[in-house]
Each structure stands twice: as structure tokens, then as C-alpha cells.
Symmetry: C2
Subunit: 500 residues, 2 copies
């Protein structure tokens, strides 16, 4: 950048701020604007004119780069940005993220990150409490996939600490279990960890997409018969597609009997823990008792889908060995923010420590137990904890709960609409997490006999993959979803589908 | 946060900006201020009053949280912040980071990240060129440790693609080689990947901390004799402590003969690639030919430490299979920014793909080859490429080169001072990367006979670890280091050490 133009300290940061304000990126984006001005890759390349030259750019050019980036980027903050498991971000959380970036702190020792080390420590302890564990430990990692791998690595270490030194080559194949609806990161972790995809058993799910505990038990027995060594179960709290919550209590029973580590991938559905109304989802049922136990219960319109479950959330989380929750998914915290928690204190350190003496000297003049670096797989680690802490402390848990309840309410509303409205057909009877899956029935197919042929047309199956097509709507807490957003989405589909 | 206070959209972001400007966090921090106002953990806890309540905080309280965080955080932007392998950040790069955060984009498909997908694609191609490869592929990962694991995973897949499916349990133990000066992340990767720490052979280094190619050859032979299956060599370009550059050409010869994957951990020293004067370091020697080949050569004061090496950088990088460079370390890009490059196109995808159909549908209406998600271990992935692109395109490569040369010049100056000045003693004869390692000789020990006893006092050894103590100074490009900064550092040590 030409030198004259950089004299004004902060000028470029001011420009970024002014763009954020002008575009209302953190609050109240204009709904009439497009979520994305879609341009095909080759055309967009021409527009962007990406180039790095020997000489720099003028301030005008530099600002133009920023403007073009914003113009053609997807507005994840738009009230109609739905299709992914993340969305708009809260201004408070963004302010926390910006300050973190500006301080450029590396989260490994108290010495270089005094404030952020304590913040991470504090928030992890609060999460341990929130998930109703008596004690625990944890770390922020760069995403749910990585956090799931943390869980699997710890489970393996606990099963056989020798693996750290000796590797897997002379061991019986370790076998992991996960539902056929679970996230693909479990497979990726097994592949990276040298377990192999064949040793990840996909356990059958019920019609709601929840792992069937008896199938898990059978699969574990089968794996042993085949000479494998079962060690790990991944239960999902909020599956990627259906938002299903695996029945943790029953799975924990199987894990106790079979001596398996119970890891809970609550990347997506973990946000329910913030709500006194919905945290029950996290003990494995998506029905809620119709009692007056919680003050919000009168608003509740979820149908009772299952028998009542008397085991408390406390008991069920106490029985899991590790949990992951991604506040960057539903809660409106900027990417990346993934909290990995483990119930066994000390295990993260034992399993991961490399005792790098240059970094984690033990002869420091302060209490080195705050040096979290050696618990981590990473060496340098971005501070992901502060923006979450800042969001929660500034808004308070009541406000967070209000938002989470709002997202669930919007999903329920959408599920009702999809069930009632002509031209829409729910895939499941009701919403589970804030996911709603449905088919769109084009006008040309309405009021016809719904035979196999008809369904083939509706589902537009992808036969070579054994899959059928449907729409998945996913709702996040921020910007706050309203019923009119749901209505306009369905109206839009009707308009677009009018000629089909 | 109380609702009234949030009405002003952007108010909190403005506050963050005003703090950044007031504290000069991106330019010209006041040198007379402290790098850190050190407070012990328990005391700092009392000051921070970390708390999350049901109710929110007032705007005044919220602003106070930000102020306290800044007050007690380490100022990595301070000209005297040296001890870590990262430091201050450039305003342009920070602006890129802030915009990235505000857009909250997830780097996995073109559809949700049109601009940033193309930016990552573009910059990876430019890095491939910069490292003088003819072709290649790559990905940004959340840090050097993760990038090193990418290298090891690809090497293993190439050696035996079956591992992805079958795992390691029935295979001969795979053996990896790395120097005894290399970063501990190689061990962590081997442990996570199920190879086991015992199967990471630490190859001997010379007196400069560089891996000895003949030792590598011997170790590979030994490993085979013991029944192991050598597959991977990690060479370091810029070691963590000494800044040593392993001799890549000679190592590549061994790798060719022994059929081993050559991975180059250039996390730290990779920044030299930006400088026409110093990029030669990356082909494995830290001596530079004294010719007039480059226009900057007249400034050069590095002693010739080794025989001349006629093999060009091009040839040597062409021979490596993968390389990692962390622009977040020396170049002043905010954390995290780590580029992993691999010479074999398609391998990242083959090795890592899980073919998650819900995410990476093949029946999209645009060219899906831009959907990079399935190359990645991660699912959600923060955009780390744009801030680097923005830095390079705005300032231009000439300015980047000037900065890199400046950092090297400052390190040379420091090395000279340490060699000449009473009370200081260099550990090595001269600086290699921008690291300078030295002993401080307290006045009470000067002008004495330098026998074993004397050295014991100087080095304050840590006998149970077989280690000795010395100071490591590490210099980054930003804020631009000046000789007066080096002088004042040494003066400060003299003042502090006066009574020892
Ligand atoms: C030579 C070397 N490689 C790899 C790393 C790890 O990089 P990161 O901290 O980004 O994980 C470091 C960190 O200091 C390093 O010095
Ligand atoms: C259930 C579930 N688990 C894990 C992940 C992976 O999280 P991340 O994208 O942070 O890697 C996802 C991502 O969508 C998910 O839906």
C-alpha cells in the first residue's frame, strides 16, 4: 500500500467498520436485499481480479477490494440465510472476536496470554457446570471435527495408554460406533487416527434418526466376535440432517456394560443446554413432560413423541465421558468456537503432552498449572473462548435462553406450517432440534394418487447413492427468526415452484 | 446487555476500534510502555471478576470488560515483544481479519463462500509458484501442528491407500524421521495417527542444529532392520530454537533412494521465501553465495558458513512432497494462518474425502471443483486465506521483501552485538533464521577462567533434563525491528544483571 495512505493509523479498520455498519452486518440486515448475488466461478474471477504484484495498491484500490469482497460474499447475517448450521453473528460476540484479533494472543501459556488463559479456564468450568458434571476439564479446538477427534484420542488413550508410545500396529483393531445419521467427522477421525473406516460401525437408527441402543449392543458383540476391540461410542445430540438426539441414557447403559467410552457430539444440538425448556433434549428424548416444572412450559407445543423419561439430565451427562458443543453453530458466535469437554481430569494432559521444555518450562515464577498448552494437540492456538465469554457475560443467560427458545419456537412453527400447508409434506412428524425436513409438492403433482411413481417424482431420488431428495431447513438463534420469515420462505418456494 | 444500550448498531465495534487506535495496537506502540503488566494468576482473577449471570451487563460494564482485557493482556504489538514465534500484526492484515470475522463465512463450498473460495484457490496457487513448484494443491489449516499432521497423513495414504479403510492394526509399524531439533508437533501427529512416539526417530543434527543426511540414511536402514517400515521424513526450515535450516537437497537424495516422503516444516523459516536475498536458506544452506546475483546482496553481512551449494531452490522444492508455511509467525498476519502445500494434485481429496453427500452434492448448478470442503479434515473451516491475500495484494511483494530483509538484518545486528559486547556470548557463531541464541555472563563471572565450573554457572543446567539454559531471541517482521531495539534489549539485560 502506498506509504502516504497508511499514515492514518486505523483508517482501514475504520473502513471495515463503516462497511459493517452500512450493510447492517451485525443487526437488522435489510430483508429485501439478496442473501447472495450469485455469480459463476469463472465470471466472479473476472470481477475479483485477484492479483499480487511487486508494487502495492493505492488506498482507493484497497478499499475497492474490501467493497467487492462484501458485495459478492454470502450474507450469513441475512434473516433468510438458512441452509447451513451457522448463520448471523451477534455484535457483542463480534466485538469480542475483533478485540481478540487485534491483541493477536496465542493461547498456550499464562505468561503470554494471562487474561485469555483465565477466561478459557473460567468458561470451561462454567460449561462443565452447565452440562451438569461434577468435575471436568476441556479445551477449545478449531471446530467440531477436531473436537470429535479429541474425544476419540482420549478414549483410545484411556483404553490403552501404551498406544501413545507404541502405536496400533500390533494391537487388535479398535472399533468405534456411531449412528448411521452421525456426522462424517467421526469417519475422518478414525481414518486419520489409523483405525480405518472399516472399523467405524454405523449403528442403525429409528424412524426419527436416533441410534437404537439395542442395535449398538448387538453391533458391539458382533465386532468382538470378529476379533475387534470395541472402545468408543459417538452419540449425537442434534444430528446434521434431522436434528435427532440419540438416547444418551440408554446408550450409557450399553457403554457401562460393554466398557465403552461415551462421547457426545453435541456440536449442533448442544445449544439446547442453554434453555431450561429444551435442555431435556440432551438426555436423549425429544419429548418433554407436560408438567409445570419450568416456567416456560406453557408455551410449549411440541407433541409428546415418546414415553416419559424419568432420568434427569444430570445423570445422563454425568455418564458421558466427553462432550463437544459448537457455539459457532446455533448461538451466533463467529467461527470458530468449539468447546471440547472431558469428565476425567488430567487425561487431556496425559494423553497429549509432549513436554516441550522450551515452551512449558516448569521452573517459572508463577503457578504453571495455568499453562494449558500441553493439553492441546495444537501448539499455537487462536483464542476462541473470549468471544463466547463476552457474549454470555454481556447479555446474560436469560437473554441467551430467550434466543434459544425463539429459535426452537420458529422451528416448531415451520414444522406446523409444513404439515398444514398444501404443497408441503414433512419428512418427520415434527421438528426435533431446529431442523425441519420436508418435501415440496409442485402444483402439477398435487391432488394425485400418492403411489410409488408419485413419490419417485417428489423425491427425485439419486438411485446410485440410494438417497432421496428433500429440503432441510435449519434455524439459528441470530438474527432472531420470526414466523413471518418462515412464511415468506414457504411463499417463495410456492412462487418458484408454481410452474413445476 | 441491557436492551437500550444495544440500540446503537455498531457502538461496541466502535469502542473496540477506539481502543485499538488509542493503544496504537497496529502501529507505533509507545515503547516506553510495558509489554505486560504482570500480575499473578490468583490476583488477576480478582481483578477480572469473571462472571456470567442470568441478567446482562450495562454498556458501561461491558466497556469496562474490554478495557480490563486490554490492560492486562500481553502487547504482542510492542517493539520489545520478542520471545515467541509471532508478534505484532499489520493493520492491513488485521482489517482483512476483521472483515472475515464480520462476514462469518465458512470455507467449504463455493456456494456459501464464493469470494473466499476463489481467494484461497488463488493464493494457494501463488504459494505453489512462490515455492517454485510446477504444480500443486493445498489448504489452509488451523496451525502448523495440524499442517504437519496433514503432511504425515498424505504420506501414509500414498504409501498405502488401504490404511484409510483398514487402519494400521495389521501393518508393519510405519516409521517417521525428524531431527532432534524439530518441533514437537511431529511427535504429537505420530501419536494421534496411531504410529506411536517410539516410531518417530530423532535424527542427529550438526553443531548448527541441522539434520545430518548420512544419519538419516543410517537411521532408515536401522529401522528396516528392526522390522519397521520407513515412510516419512520431516525436514525443518527454521527450527524453533536455533532457526536451523535442514539441508533439503541432500535429504531429498536420501528420500529418493529410500522411497520416503519429504515433508518440509517451514512454519517458521518459510517467510524467507518472500526475500530474494534469503530464500536460498530454504534449499538447505544458510550460507549465501557472494555474487551480485541479487540487487540486495551488497547489504549482506552473513558469514559464509558452508560450502557453496549450486542446486537451485527450484530443484530442491520441486523435490519435497509437502511444505507448510505459517504466515502468522514471522510475517505479521493475525493468528491463525498456516498454509499446507502438497506437490501431488488430487491426493488431498483422495486421502481425506468422506463424500458427505448432504454437503458436497455433485448435482449442483455450478462447477463443483471449487468446493474444497472434502479435501479438508475439518468440516466448518474459518477463512484464514483472505487476510494473507489482502496483506500481500495491498502492500505488494516489494514491501513484504523489505520487511523480511529488515527482520533478518536486525537478527544479524543482534548476533554481531552479542558476539562483541562484554557480558554476552553467542551460542552459535552467527544467526541462522531470525533467531539469536546467547548466554548472558553476569558481571561477577566476567574476566574469569572459563573452565567447566564457570560454564556450569553460566548455563544453569537443568541436570535431570540434560539441558542447559540460554536466551533465545526471535525477531519478526512487524513492528519493524530496529537496531536501537536490539541495543535497548541488551542494555536492559545489563541493567537487570548488574548485581548478579
Ligand atoms: C518449526 C515449527 N513447526 C511447527 C510449529 C507449530 O506451529 P503452530 O504453532 O501453528 O501449531 C512451530 C511452532 O512454534 C514451529 O516452531
Ligand atoms: C453433528 C455435527 N457434528 C460435528 C460437526 C463438525 O463440526 P465442524 O464443522 O465445526 O468441524 C458438524 C458440522 O456440521 C455436525 O453437524
Amino acid at each position: 500500500m502506498a506509504h502516504s495512505s497508511t499514515n492514518a493509523q486505523g483508517a482501514l479498520l475504520e473502513k471495515v467498520l463503516s462497511i459493517v455498519e452500512r450493510e447492517n452486518l451485525v443487526k437488522g440486515m435489510d430483508e429485501t436485499k439478496k442473501v447472495i448475488d450469485f455469480v459463476h466461478p469463472e465470471e466472479l474471477k473476472k470481477i475479483l481480479q485477484l492479483d499480487i504484484r511487486r508494487e502495492g495498491r493505492s488506498l482507493e484500490e484497497v478499499e475497492q477490494v474490501l467493497e467487492t469482497v462484501v458485495r459478492y460474499s454470502v450474507k450469513t447475517q441475512h434473516p433468510h440465510f438458512y441452509n447451513q448450521l451457522y448463520g448471523g453473528i451477534d455484535e457483542v460476540a463480534l466485538a469480542g472476536a475483533w478485540l481478540t484479533e487485534a491483541l493477536n494472543t496465542n493461547q498456550h501459556t499464562f505468561e503470554v496470554a494471562p487474561v485469555f488463559t483465565l477466561v478459557e479456564h473460567f468458561i470451561l468450568n462454567r460449561l462443565v457446570e452447565l452440562f451438569d458434571w461434577q468435575d471436568g476439564d476441556g479445551i477449545f479446538s478449531p471446530g467440531g471435527s477436531m473436537s470429535n477427534m479429541y474425544g476419540m484420542v482420549l478414549a483410545r488413550y484411556r483404553k490403552n495408554p501404551e498406544v501413545k508410545k507404541l502405536g496400533l500396529s500390533s494391537m487388535k483393531p479398535l472399533v468405534a460406533f456411531t449412528s448411521d445419521q452421525s456426522h462424517y467427522s467421526i469417519g475422518k477421525a478414525a481414518s486419520w487416527m489409523g483405525l480405518g473406516l472399516d472399523n467405524v460401525i454405523k449403528v442403525e437408527t429409528d424412524s426419527w434418526g436416533r441410534m437404537i441402543p439395542e442395535s449398538l449392543r448387538e453391533e458391539a458383540a458382533k465386532a468382538r466376535l470378529k476379533g475387534g476391540d470395541p472402545f468408543f461410542v459417538n452419540a449425537t445430540s442434534g444430528t446434521t440432517v434431522f436434528g435427532a438426539f440419540d438416547p444418551l441414557d440408554q446408550l450409557a447403559d450399553v457403554c457401562r456394560d460393554e466398557n465403552l467410552w461415551l462421547h457426545v457430539d453435541a456440536c449442533w444440538g448442544g445449544t439446547a443446554i442453554v434453555s431450561r425448556k429444551h435442555r431435556h433434549l440432551l438426555h436423549g428424548i425429544h419429548s418433554i413432560r407436560r408438567t409445570r416444572r419450568f416456567k416456560y412450559l406453557t408455551y410449549l407445543r411440541l407433541p409428546v413423541l415418546n414415553s416419559m423419561n424419568e432420568v434427569s439430565t444430570l445423570a445422563s451427562f454425568f455418564r458421558a465421558d466427553s462432550v463437544v458443543w459448537n457455539p459457532h453453530k446455533m448461538l451466533g458466535v463467529p467461527l470458530q468456537c468449539s468447546a471440547f469437554l472431558v469428565r476425567h481430569k488430567g487425561l487431556l494432559h496425559e494423553s497429549n503432552s509432549a513436554s516441550a521444555t522450551y515452551l512449558f518450562q516448569q521452573d517459572k515464577f508463577y503457578d504453571v498449572s495455568y499453562d494449558t498448552g500441553d493439553k492441546s494437540f495444537q501448539c499455537g492456538r487462536k483464542v476462541d473462548a473470549f468471544k463466547l465469554y463476552f457474549l454470555l457475560t454481556c447479555h446474560g443467560m436469560d437473554e441467551m435462553e430467550r434466543r434459544v427458545d425463539g429459535a426452537f419456537r420458529a422451528a416448531e412453527y415451520l414444522a406446523e406450517q409444513v404439515a398444514q400447508r398444501p404443497g408441503f409434506r414433512p419428512v418427520l412428524e415434527s421438528a426435533q432440534c431446529t431442523n425441519t425436513c420436508f418435501w415440496y409438492i409442485p402444483p402439477s403433482l398435487r391432488h394425485q394418487q400418492e403411489n410409488t411413481e408419485w413419490w419417485l417424482k417428489v423425491e427425485q431420488p439419486v438411485p446410485e447413492k440410494g438417497l432421496v431428495n428433500f429440503f432441510r431447513m435449519v434455524i439459528t438463534c441470530y438474527p432472531e427468526p420470526q414466523s413471518r420469515h418462515m412464511d415468506s420462505l414457504l411463499n417463495e418456494m410456492d412462487t418458484l415452484g408454481a410452474d413445476l
